[in-house]
């Protein structure tokens, strides 16, 4: 099956173009935009881990190593498309337009962190596994029924392909030709369980055959191939050709979350052969004359300032209102819940 689903690349590990058919699509602006977002979300990710270690942020799920997959896929979307991320896809969310201070607030347990900016369709990150696949299928099907050209993208990991929801979401989308891209980031581990122990299939892409949809296997650390293949799948979807399964082969550099230690379940030398996606993009830019030291410097400073500001905004955010606990449970608050709210407020005032 590996031979049926070879890993597609635009660039090799040294950043050299290996498939010239994409060459005409590459331009300086695109390359700089992709690099900018990868650098931005990596800096965010590292900042989030450091805030968690200092007790300034809750448990956090890092995505370092998966920046090319997240940025390339999110950049291929149109503004009115639907995004269904998981807890590890905050990089994709930020690239698509989620608010950065809001993203920090999410990890501090604030409901404000789940609210997408006006005009962006981003579902709250799915924390249970694979539940977002049927959602993506349903939203895409609804857009088709409404007669729009909007599509949806579902983010999920290798572990999610074991769930029943994976099968049901894929089948539904295929049967109803829903315009959805099933974007799999195969980072090779479901918490501590390596992919060989999760499935007997050699690839995830081959699972598409069973649903009668195209399956594509790509180098998830090559931001350009991710961007072009997701774009192509979205275009097919918009034309009414139905869903595509894309397997982006990547690597989770760090832990599952800040609550575990990957050295306890991964061989020390595993992943050593992987070239960091940002370094690959840097090599590609240098090889092709897109690397501009002054621009890189200026970009880094701008992003650092943006992140510092977002942290400041998160930390100066007013403490949550007790009302938040009650106000979003129903459209109209039932009398019993209103009573409970009142009694909480009274109880808390009594304690002050």
């Amino acid at each position: 099956m590996n031979t049926h689903y070879p890993i597609k690349q635009v660039m090799d590990k040294e950043g050299r173009i290996v498939d010239s058919s994409y060459e005409s699509l590459i331009n300086e602006q695109l390359v700089k935009d992709l690099y900018y977002h990868m650098y931005r979300i990596r800096t965010f990710d590292r900042k989030a881990i450091s805030l968690q270690r200092q007790g300034r942020l809750g448990t956090y799920a890092p995505f370092e190593g998966q920046e090319a997959a997240q940025v390339g896929s999110a950049m291929a979307l149109q503004p009115a498309d639907w995004m269904f991320p998981t807890y590890r896809d905050h990089g994709a969310k930020l690239t698509f337009g989620a608010d950065m201070a809001g993203t920090f607030l999410y990890w501090n347990g604030r409901v404000e962190g789940c609210v997408p900016p006006e005009g962006r369709n981003i579902f709250p990150p799915a924390v249970p596994i694979a539940t977002q696949l049927p959602h993506a299928a349903g939203a895409a099907w609804a857009e088709r029924r409404k007669g729009t050209k909007n599509a949806s993208i579902a983010y999920f990991g290798d572990g999610a392909t074991s769930e029943g929801d994976f099968h049901e979401g894929m089948n539904f989308a295929s049967v109803f030709k829903a315009p959805v891209v099933f974007f799999n980031q195969n980072n090779r581990y479901a918490i501590s369980v390596p992919i060989e122990k999760q499935m007997n299939s050699e690839t995830i892409a081959q699972k598409a055959v069973a649903y009668g949809m195209p399956g594509v296997r790509i180098d998830g650390n090559d931001c350009l191939i991710v961007y072009f293949e997701v774009m192509k799948a979205l275009e097919e979807a918009r034309k009414g050709q139905g869903p595509t399964l894309i397997e982006a082969v990547t690597w989770r550099t760090g832990a599952h979350t800040t609550a575990d230690d990957p050295t306890k379940y991964r061989p020390a030398d595993q992943g050593k052969d992987i070239v960091d996606p940002l370094l690959r993009m840097e090599r590609f830019m240098k090889n092709n004359g897109y690397w501009d030291e002054a621009w890189v410097q200026e970009t880094a400073e701008r992003i650092t300032a943006e992140i510092e500001k977002a942290v400041e905004d998160m930390e100066s955010y007013p403490t949550p209102n007790v009302e938040d606990l009650f106000d979003y449970v129903f459209a109209e608050m039932p009398a019993q819940l209103a009573e409970q709210k009142q009694s909480y407020l009274t109880h808390l005032r009594g304690n002050q």
Partner: protein, 346 residues
């Protein structure tokens, strides 16, 4: 010989003892071996689950008996139910009780009904171990306490221990039991320590335990809310009110007699349950006492629960969401204030 160990270690020890005693006991679930699947770690100390509760099991019992399953709750839960009906005695670990949504049919429609639908010919000696409880900053989909859902299903037994000693004895009883038992472990209690004997012992399912004797009010707590009740009782004692704290330990079957006898003695009842208030165990026990113990009561029954909202992710909101000793004391004071006494009319 008893030693002081944590609840997590007591649960771990119970599984080891059960597996040493009976070859048919196996464990399956997500990350239960935890790293032992990695070749270079095979003989080393793998982490054993997201909170380390199953640590050391795969080293002792091997991969044939400790299965790291794919992330497929319906798959392994269904497999466990049917494996149990062939004679194995599986422990199926559902990492968080909130994930029951992904495999509810296998538990409530399948495992719970096999014995009944086979006219008694089949049995399902499975133990589903699962984490529950708020206070861990784990948000709305990883913090619920769903024991009432299972308590309402005929064919299932439900256990919610509050101490390391009870956890070990109840888990061994659950594994020995010939019906499916849902065993709830509060994730915030794993590090709580207590005296636990080294040897194999069981605590019968359906037997409540009086954690503190008292004469003025009965406080029934579920799971870690037993500790909330005990803290409240200590503070009430300084006010001159002696509370009796009762831990049902098993919700199905429920030890009605012990609960009713305590209310008969104290004439007042507060139930502390961190689940949402509608159709929860506090409500069920309140109905039981209203039905069978109405004449014992000197005041209306009070329930201290979470509000009818999801568990908030925000730490300050989660802290106020849960029952606290202060809320229990408020409830007790309210009912004692309401109780007519001779002096009140003087």
């Amino acid at each position: 010989m008893a030693r002081i160990i944590s609840m997590a270690d007591a649960i771990n020890e119970a599984m080891k003892l059960a597996m040493r005693k009976d070859e048919n006991v196996i464990l399956m679930g997500e990350d239960v071996a935890g790293g032992a699947e990695v070749d270079h770690l095979q003989d080393e100390d793998a982490w054993g689950g997201v909170l380390g509760v199953t640590k050391g099991l795969v080293q002792e019992f091997g991969r044939d008996r400790i299965l790291d399953t794919p992330i497929a709750e319906a798959g392994y839960m269904g497999a466990a139910m049917a494996a149990a009906s062939t004679g194995l005695r599986p422990i199926a670990e559902l990492m968080f009780n909130d994930f029951i949504g992904s495999c509810l049919d296998e538990v409530l429609n399948q495992g719970a009904k096999f014995r009944y639908m086979f006219g008694g010919k089949a049995q399902v000696p499975v133990t589903v171990r699962t984490m529950h409880g708020a206070g861990f900053r784990a948000a709305a989909q990883h913090s619920q306490s769903l024991y009432a859902l299972f308590t309402s299903v005929p064919g299932l037994k439900v256990v919610v221990p509050s101490t390391p000693y009870d956890a070990k004895g109840l888990l061994l009883a659950a594994i020995e039991d010939n019906d499916p038992v849902i065993f709830f472990e509060d994730k915030t209690l794993y590090n709580v320590t207590g005296e636990v004997p080294e040897e194999y012992y069981t605590i019968p399912l359906g037997k409540a335990d009086i954690k503190r004797e008292g004469s003025d009010v009965t406080i029934i707590g579920i799971g870690k809310q037993v500790n909330t009740a005990l803290e409240a009782a200590e503070k009430l004692a300084s006010q001159g009110i002696e509370a009796e704290v009762v831990d049902p330990r098993s919700l199905s079957p429920l030890d009605e007699n012990t609960l009713l006898a305590s209310v008969e003695k104290t004439n007042r009842l507060v139930i502390v349950d961190e689940a949402n208030p509608r159709c929860n165990v506090a409500t069920d026990i309140a109905a039981l006492v209203a039905d069978k113990g109405f004449d014992f009561l000197d005041a209306p029954i009070k329930r201290v629960t979470a509000p009818h909202t999801p568990v908030p992710f925000s730490p300050p909101l989660e802290d106020i969401y849960l029952p606290t000793p202060e809320k229990v004391i408020e409830a007790v004071n309210e009912m004692i204030g309401e109780t007519p006494s001779v002096g009140a009319y003087a």
